[in-house]
Symmetry: C2
Subunit: 718 residues, 2 copies
Amino acid sequence: MKFITMAIVNQTVGIKTSVYTSQQTIFTIYVLSGLTILAAFLYALYLTSWVKAQPNKNPTIKHIATLIRSGADAFMKKEYRILASFSSIFAILILIFLPNPIWISDNISENIIMAIVYLLGTLFSAIAGKIGIYVASLANARTAEAATSGIRPAFRIAFRGGAVMGLLVVGSCLLGVMGVMILIGDATVLLSFSFGASSLALFAKAGGGIFTKTADISADLVGKVELNIPEDDPRNPAVIADNVGDNVGDVAGMGADLFDSNVASMSAALVMATMLDGGTGANVMMVFCYAAFGLLASIVGISTAKVGEDDNPTKALNSSTYVTTGIFLILTALATYIFPGFQWRIWGASTAGLLVGVIIGLVTNYFTDGDYPIIKKVAHASKAGPAFTILSGISYSFISVLPSMAGIAVSSLIAYTLCEPLGSGYGMYGISMAAVGMLSIVGMIISNDAYGPIVDNARGLAEMGALGIETIRNADELDSAGNTVKAITKGFAIGAAGLTVISLLGAFKSEVNEALILMGNTEEILTGFNIMDPKVFFGILVGGAIPAVFSAMLILGVEKNAERMIDEIHRQFNEIEGLRDGLAGVEPDYNKCIDIATTGALKELIPAGLMTIVATVLVGLIGGVHAVGGFLLGNIVTGLLLALFMSNAGGLWDNAKKYIEAGNEGGIGSEEHKAAVIGDTVGDPFKDTAGPSINTQITVVSLVASLMAKIFLIFSIF
Amino acid sequence: MKFITMAIVNQTVGIKTSVYTSQQTIFTIYVLSGLTILAAFLYALYLTSWVKAQPNKNPTIKHIATLIRSGADAFMKKEYRILASFSSIFAILILIFLPNPIWISDNISENIIMAIVYLLGTLFSAIAGKIGIYVASLANARTAEAATSGIRPAFRIAFRGGAVMGLLVVGSCLLGVMGVMILIGDATVLLSFSFGASSLALFAKAGGGIFTKTADISADLVGKVELNIPEDDPRNPAVIADNVGDNVGDVAGMGADLFDSNVASMSAALVMATMLDGGTGANVMMVFCYAAFGLLASIVGISTAKVGEDDNPTKALNSSTYVTTGIFLILTALATYIFPGFQWRIWGASTAGLLVGVIIGLVTNYFTDGDYPIIKKVAHASKAGPAFTILSGISYSFISVLPSMAGIAVSSLIAYTLCEPLGSGYGMYGISMAAVGMLSIVGMIISNDAYGPIVDNARGLAEMGALGIETIRNADELDSAGNTVKAITKGFAIGAAGLTVISLLGAFKSEVNEALILMGNTEEILTGFNIMDPKVFFGILVGGAIPAVFSAMLILGVEKNAERMIDEIHRQFNEIEGLRDGLAGVEPDYNKCIDIATTGALKELIPAGLMTIVATVLVGLIGGVHAVGGFLLGNIVTGLLLALFMSNAGGLWDNAKKYIEAGNEGGIGSEEHKAAVIGDTVGDPFKDTAGPSINTQITVVSLVASLMAKIFLIFSIF
């Protein structure tokens, strides 16, 4: 179906058709991609068994690690159960309405395929998340034990444990997208796959985010503030939930988020590439080739990660990221040189995306790392009390959004300008390839990111298992590297999402135009969305408010949930005899806390998720496709602003607190420290719940819009 | 010049020309407006002498009131001096570059007129502010004395004192705009007048905002927190600066802000009306007629303001606002019925604007008034510590932006849809008339708003003059009414600014098109700004970051300045013997604190103001007019979001603190109260410095863009 309409589109809007590529090239690239996926899966399998084979003998640690694993399992099980019912409802809605309402469709099998592909999108992401969590919970205990003999062996285990997640996410993403394209051959169906991935990401990231901060804040407030017991004291009923939270929020959540961004960026690029090629041509193959080479580069990068003689884990993480970036650039340049129809201008766009990603990461680092002046200024401001910690933190984070937003703006301008001369439609395709470029090294990024919660857990296990000061210090060193790298990867993830949603805006326009052509309404073909059109403007203003409301609902969710958990912790300390004094054999009811965090997280998440979807549908039904175009733009602008602001503010307060704890501005216990702790608590749901969930929120909204484009054309009021 | 080009524009873009209005109608409306202005000035004069005639005998109060007055004078003098050099530079730049660079202009007198009109814009606003401050500082002492005999007489003085500012601002705004139109007859020159008003507003609002919060926060931190002395204790060296701050921030600042919005909305409407009319026609006269009737309605409303038997000042303020609204609607309906060429659809647009203004006010009230659940929830959240006060306050304020932004979106959609059938160009004109409608009752709004700092000062004077508990209680009652009404007027001001900047975006497009026609480049005539145009998108993202950076710079300015002042307060308490113990005859050096606040405020403000102007110019020179269109949109979206968020958050925290102080959730001195005080301190620069300054920032940027449209067309890189 698509191919015929493409020809019409191309004739109508004047696009050069048929960027010809030989069957041999297509075959070569598919085989190449297939082999890379296979390599990634095999390497992941090898790393898993390697991690499993590492020593894990300490019984206390074994016991606690089991508690963490079963807690994570309990959350994932419940999450996936709710997600299953949620997805079923959505699958049925897709079946009824998409791509055409079933009562006016002449080909119901299209609807069935859409629904199935949607479910596959959720499934692929879910499986990758599940295995990632499993390996991470094997790696944490082994990392803790290895930390007794030094930083280098411990780093190796933690990093390889995290890398499994990175390899699986990117491998299954590529597999899914390629499968859909080969078997169904319709890029629009990919949007349904992408929507499946986003639905899961919404649950995994926002749900996991509420879980992790509920546990973290409650454990700290009762443990550290009220009772004055250490961070990971096993008497605290919330301590296991806190460690579980690191896994479900940072491993599964971040993985699903980047799976989602990766699928979305590829889908958007492929929707535009098929339109340009009029089917499978050089542009389509370029997307696959670049994505496959990104994965290959990540495999090489991962295999080189190693702490040197200087015992500096941050350097190890960064240098393997640079290795990956370099290899990717060389491989794609080679491919562009070799394969017929591959354009250097598009390579340039992809390179611009990747380099801007690196720059955004460095800027984020400047604003959130203790080595630079910003953190010191915020710590110093805390002298005048917590209000000043908050005010200066908010201010510097507001300033920090400018370079990143300007970076995204400039990279999209460069990508567009570079590719525009290739023909009509190539400008937007160039932007989508910048997003693909930025996300190409995502396998490496996820590996770095999943390393964080593993070493964080390991630090907790070292404390709870009483492995001694030296081990804890090693674990601390590894943990601090995780935090530094995390800030960079977060900036990267938001930048990539920014470029992706721009290309999704392009995909939305393509979908609308395709529908218009099918409806025989070619004179209304969109060339874009005019700001001065009052419907577009209406959409922009309403869309601009949505990320704020969404964030607010998540943060209030954390608050409400923490209130419940604090009550439970108090109850246990009051009712379980001997718990407060740490009598031998007395253990708190960890599961109750995990249960509260789980139930509450999912309960608080659903209204926020539904709100965004309902708002999109309402705006579309009121103002039609023009209003929705504006709505997406409004969402992108304030979404990027708030995501960057919140992530950076959270990172900044966290590190300001750590800076004071390192003995500056009065050190631990001073009034400055108390102020910094308040800042850190405010920052926690900013950086781990609301901030990173906004990405997913924007992606979900963009996909809902693209999928429902035809419905809005038929049913809108204005 | 304009008239000839208009004809070309109208031919080119297909606008119906010559909405004919008889010379008699034009004469009638000008005379009517002139008489209304005269009435406003005479009434202001009467109220001033009436306030002056009220008893003012208590020597202590007289002395302190003099200190406040001379402090305010000192600030205004310094502010106006810096402003004068700033304005001179701008006037010279305008002379050189606008409307055409002097070296390619064939009529230099146009440039001279532009520069002079710009200076007049600053001058008119400055004079209104100066007189407003003068009367307010007469009224505060008299209000305090009248409060000894009850709420009703005290209310009368305070309200009438504030009304002088309201009448002068609106009267001089109308006088200036009408003068320019009658004498020069070119609506583009009005933008220069408007830019003058905005420059002043930027200084008055942002500078005053930094001043007032520097003094407020420093006085509180040392006085209430460190030394545990009451709010308005005369021993505190910052106490006079604090009272001065109320005047310069809330009287002069808010007045200049609304003068600016009012001029900007009229200018935008007139630019579009002259284009539609091809000169002075029915649409132009409609703008003047509606504005004059707004002022007339405000005069009537002001004269009815009176506290009833129930001693409820809030009711008195609100009911006279409703009277003004009602009279305005009736008068404009009559005018639309009587005058030929006046359209009912445009009356509808103006009414939609006014009503949405009222709705936004009510929503703001819901989120910031202690009678509704939100405040109670935030107060309750404070139980878990200050981090939760902050988190819940931020969350609810994020949610509060949705109804206001949707309200602005809906009113502009209604206005556009109503007026579009009248012909091409009428849609945008309808939106600008919605802004004029919303701002029509601004005379009343300013009166309500200036009432606030007068009673706030009066409360301070009652305390410092030891007028007894009963008097302080009366003053408190009056003050609390001021706070409630303030929240509503603030929502109103932001809403009006929102609609105004939308119409300024329309004015920008008109200016670009006019320039294109003059340059003979008619095929590039803009129909709008396409989101999918990468230059527009580039502008949107960069523009979206600017309000955040601007706010951050102002807030950091308050912080830095407060640090300086706190040092000074400490110095005085340490060095002036007997001050701490309140020995008779020992007085702190109030002027030193006023001086710090003044110098610092102006020093911190200038970089922030320049940053926004430089960013606009840079974006224009890089990406041309398309990028600037996007830049303005980005500014509007995130500017509205942040302005609403910050104003509401500040109001909410302030009232949550008051709610706890009224004995709820533990009352004064409890941990909850301490948390709420921290929230209030964070909220202070939000609501009184950054939030309300964003309006002005957006207006300045929009006007710079419109004025420089031609330069961007000629000199841009892309």
